[in-house]
């Protein structure tokens, strides 16, 4: 229990330290220490056994209620200040609902805090990956054109956010979960608006109102749980049966779809790309959005055999394909990464909602490896943005000659997402055979299988299309000396790459299958090849063939954009499916 407390309190203490110590060495020392401590504690917890529970004292409960009311009032105020009716309306609805729920909430119940295996696994992702991102953000913020106080507040906010995340994955009370869910919404809102220009503000407000829909459905779900089963605890609710239990569960899973930015809510996550890169990496790819699959995993005992679960997994699978396809029309690197995050979150939710033991394990593995690879990709994208001022993949043509190291990291990220023997690929591979083995009992899984296969193929196209831009260099570019990447950026990237490799090794060993080990051989061979074939300088060099043309060449990138009509159908379709979850929950 002390260790869990440490995970919650340490980041807050560090946040205060960050506000005090000067930039430079001291900041690195603080964030490095936080990373080491947090990931050490998380790892120790992961290897420990048993489930801990913890009851909150009445005073703490009252403080949470007060904080929650203040938070909702703040949202209401923000809606008024920026004249945003949707934000105001949703905040008002939540205030009313929350007030009513607090007036009828049953006094006694099981413990509010439960640390189970799933929470311990989440600690690993949050603290390991999150810690690395904090370390990276120190260097990133040094170069941000803003006041020193704001820089410190930014890093502090990231740290406080880690503490919120550590708490949300142990919340057993739906109301406590709601409070922390709103806290993450607040974090999104504040950090997206950080640069405080028109676009940032608009996107932040968009994130605010969309995420509040999640808040509303959680509250309605909690209300039903209280009226039907006299409980606000996840564990009691999951053990109940009959009545409206599935309706309550369905509403809670809808919150996951919102937080996971499934289409039609993907707008807020893509809008978040205007924020400084550590925000995109931390909140919108590596950690915060993982609440979505986490929540589905938590609910999976109830979802597993129900129509609601079937619906969620179909939505997730369709999102996987649709988001990968939509990404093919984009040209801003962060947006492409954002879409692929949306897609993979859909896949994780689909697997989690199937609810068999195997698919749950796969969803968890995908979460971990996705967090590592996406953090690596986002942070590399941040380096390109900071050091080379390139955001759009059209501007990145030939980046390999200017920044070979960064391009290497990005290519490694792509490879780790698509090829054997890396974790994410393995997850997809096992998912195919796992879903195929379920086909005979549930033919509806064919939709998930198809989505998985086609979506993976589209992702290969997507990633290597970006790779083509990075590698292609127009002839007329003068070979400029490669710009050195500062160590503040280098260290986090190397750490992530090392974790990806270690993760892959661990995952392979866990399978106890000699063939899976053999699957890793070709990758080892490819990396060893330059050492095996050494004397390449005995071959003469030649210029590429241009068919006698002297014109400088510019290789075009491929884009596939759906027509407006199809896009509309897709959005309406997914909107309809989203509502259908609630309807199915209500009738079943």
């Amino acid at each position: 229990m002390n260790m869990v407390l440490a995970l919650v309190l340490l980041p807050i203490i560090a946040a205060f330290l960050v506000l005090l110590v000067p930039f430079g060495r001291a900041q690195y020392a603080v964030s490095g220490a936080v990373l080491a401590l947090l990931s050490g504690v998380a790892f120790a917890l992961y290897n420990s056994f048993g489930i801990f529970t913890f009851q909150l004292s009445p005073i703490m409960n009252i403080m949470i209620v007060a904080a929650d009311v203040v938070l909702l009032l703040f949202f209401l105020y923000q809606g008024k200040v920026f004249n945003h009716p949707k934000v105001m309306a949703l905040a008002a609805v939540q205030l009313v609902l929350y007030g009513y729920i607090e007036s009828i909430v049953p006094a006694a119940g099981t413990a509010e805090i439960v640390v189970d295996e799933l929470s311990k696994f989440m600690f690993l992702i949050i603290n390991g990956v999150g810690g690395i991102i904090v370390l990276y953000s120190v260097k990133y913020m040094e170069d941000e054109p803003t006041s020193p106080l704001k820089k410190r507040l930014f890093i502090g906010a990231l740290l406080v956010f880690l503490s919120v995340m550590n708490l949300i994955v142990v919340a057993n009370s739906i109301l406590l979960f709601f409070f922390l869910f709103e806290m993450t919404t607040l974090a999104s809102y504040l950090l997206i608006a950080f640069r405080d220009d028109e676009v940032s503000r608009a996107n932040a407000l968009k994130a605010l109102w969309m995420n509040q829909i999640g808040g509303v459905v959680i509250l309605v779900g909690a209300l039903i749980a209280i009226i039907g089963f006299k409980t606000v605890m996840f564990d009691t609710l999951l053990q109940s049966s009959g009545g409206m239990v599935l309706f309550s569960i369905a509403l809670l899973s809808m919150a996951a779809l919102v937080k996971g930015a499934s289409i039609p809510f993907e707008g807020w996550l893509l809008g978040a790309m205007v924020a400084p890169t550590p925000v995109s990496a931390m909140l919108h790819s590596a950690t915060m959005v993982k609440i979505a699959p986490y929540l589905i995993l938590k609910l999976s005992p109830a979802l597993a055999v129900s129509m609601v679960g079937g619906m969620i997994s179909i939505i997730g699978a369709l999102v996987f394909v649709a988001a990968s396809y939509l990404a093919l029309s984009r040209s801003v690197l962060k947006e492409i990464l954002g879409y692929s995050t949306v897609a993979l979150l859909g896949l994780m939710m689909a697997l989690a909602a199937i609810g068999s033991e195997e698919s749950i394990n796969l969803a968890m593995a995908l979460m971990l490896f996705h967090a590592l690879s996406k953090a690596l990709l986002f942070l590399s994208a941040g380096v390109l943005e900071r050091v080379h001022h390139a955001k759009n993949i059209e501007e990145m043509k030939g980046m390999v000659s200017r920044s070979p190291k960064t391009v290497g990291f990005i290519l490694f990220g792509f490879v780790s997402l698509t090829l054997p023997p890396f974790g994410l690929f393995m997850g997809k591979l096992f998912a195919i055979s796992s879903v195929a083995s379920l086909l005979k009992e549930h033919p509806s899984n064919l939709i998930i299988l198809l989505a998985l296969i086609v979506g993976s193929a589209l992702m290969v196209l997507l990633y290597f299309k970006v790779a083509s831009a990075l590698l292609s260099a127009p002839c007329d570019v003068e070979v400029s000396p490669a710009i050195v990447i500062p160590n503040g950026f280098n260290v986090p990237l190397v750490l992530l790459s090392v974790f990806i490799v270690i993760g892959a090794l661990g995952y392979i060993m866990m399978q106890h299958n000699i063939f899976v080990v053999m699957l890793a051989l070709p990758m080892v061979f490819v990396f060893a090849l330059p050492a095996i074939v050494r004397r390449m300088d005995r071959y003469d060099r030649s210029q590429p063939y241009h068919c006698g043309e002297k014109e400088p060449f510019d290789a075009a990138l491929v884009y596939y954009a759906p027509s407006e009509k199809i896009e509309k159908i897709v959005y309406w379709g997914f909107g309809f499916l989203f509502v259908a979850v609630a309807i199915i929950g209500a009738v079943s």
Partner: protein
């Protein structure tokens, strides 16, 4: 014994390739080259001065060949079909990266098209694996070859597979990847001498790779398998002589609409 076959795989593929050139020539009432022509080409290529653009580009061709050979070995050893498909994908990605790594328009266009080809055939290959799994209960080739009656249960899936064979062996109407008249061989263009020889041999291995999938539909009967392979081989060359190349994007559309629907219909038929 099996290791001997694995070691001989490029030679077997070379013979298939040589045989195919003879077959096509006869279809066009030409004399055609001798069946051993691919091997004569090999000696000629090894004798040539090797020019390379840069070292990684040349090494990627080597890597492509050996990873492909590894996946062929996995087929002969009777491994899991899904692993084999993804090992093959890995080999393909190496080739695509090789194409992107040089500043040549044709090489880039070739890589773009290779990528589209992967997107087109990959889902069908996996669906074929799933279909075989549903009938036999296993993804392992060794296991699949002990059962029977695949063709009776998976006729539409077999047609889908036949549709993607021309993509893999680069035959009309789906030979967009090399398309000599348009993009001068695509990815192959910047290779010469010994490194080109490796790419040339990879092509032989591709024959073995894709026709092994055809062979699997014969199940435990070697005869049915052999007849299927011979039949598809003839059919693909006949179609090659009779059709014109389609655009790369049309290829993806045709495969996704026709072949995918056939495969899905067939799977639904088994499941329901």
């Amino acid at each position: 014994m099996i290791w001997v076959w694995i070691a001989l795989a490029p030679i077997l593929g070379g013979l298939a390739y040589g045989g195919e050139r003879v077959l096509r020539a006869r279809m066009q009432r030409r004399q055609g080259p001798p069946i051993l022509q691919p091997f004569y080409d090999m000696f000629k290529l090894l004798d040539k001065r090797t020019l390379i653009v840069h070292a990684p580009h040349a090494l990627l061709a080597l890597a492509h060949f050996f990873v492909l050979w590894f996946s062929i070995a996995a087929i002969f050893l009777g491994w899991n079909l899904l692993y084999i498909i993804f090992l093959h994908l890995f080999a393909q990605i190496l080739l695509i990266l090789a194409g992107y790594s040089v500043r040549s328009v044709y090489s880039h266009l070739g890589s773009n098209r290779e990528l589209l080809m992967v997107v087109a055939y990959e889902p069908i290959l996996i669906l074929v694996a799933v279909g075989l799994y549903l009938v036999s209960g296993s993804f392992e080739i060794a296991e699949i070859l002990t059962r029977d009656h695949y063709l009776l249960q998976l006729p539409l899936l077999f047609i889908a597979l036949v549709m993607i064979v021309p993509i893999k062996v680069k035959k009309s109407p789906f030979d967009v990847g090399e398309a000599h008249q348009e993009i001068v061989g695509g990815v192959e263009i910047e290779y010469s001498g010994v490194f080109y020889e490796f790419l040339y041999m990879s092509r032989f291995l591709e024959y073995i790779f894709i026709y092994s999938f055809v062979y699997l539909f014969g199940g435990e009967s070697h005869w049915i398998g052999a007849v299927l392979v011979a039949g598809v081989f003839l059919l693909v060359n006949l179609v090659d002589n009779a059709t014109a190349r389609v655009r790369a994007s049309h290829m993806v559309k045709i495969i996704y609409s026709v072949a995918m629907s056939l495969a899905v219909l067939n799977l639904l038929g088994i499941l329901l």
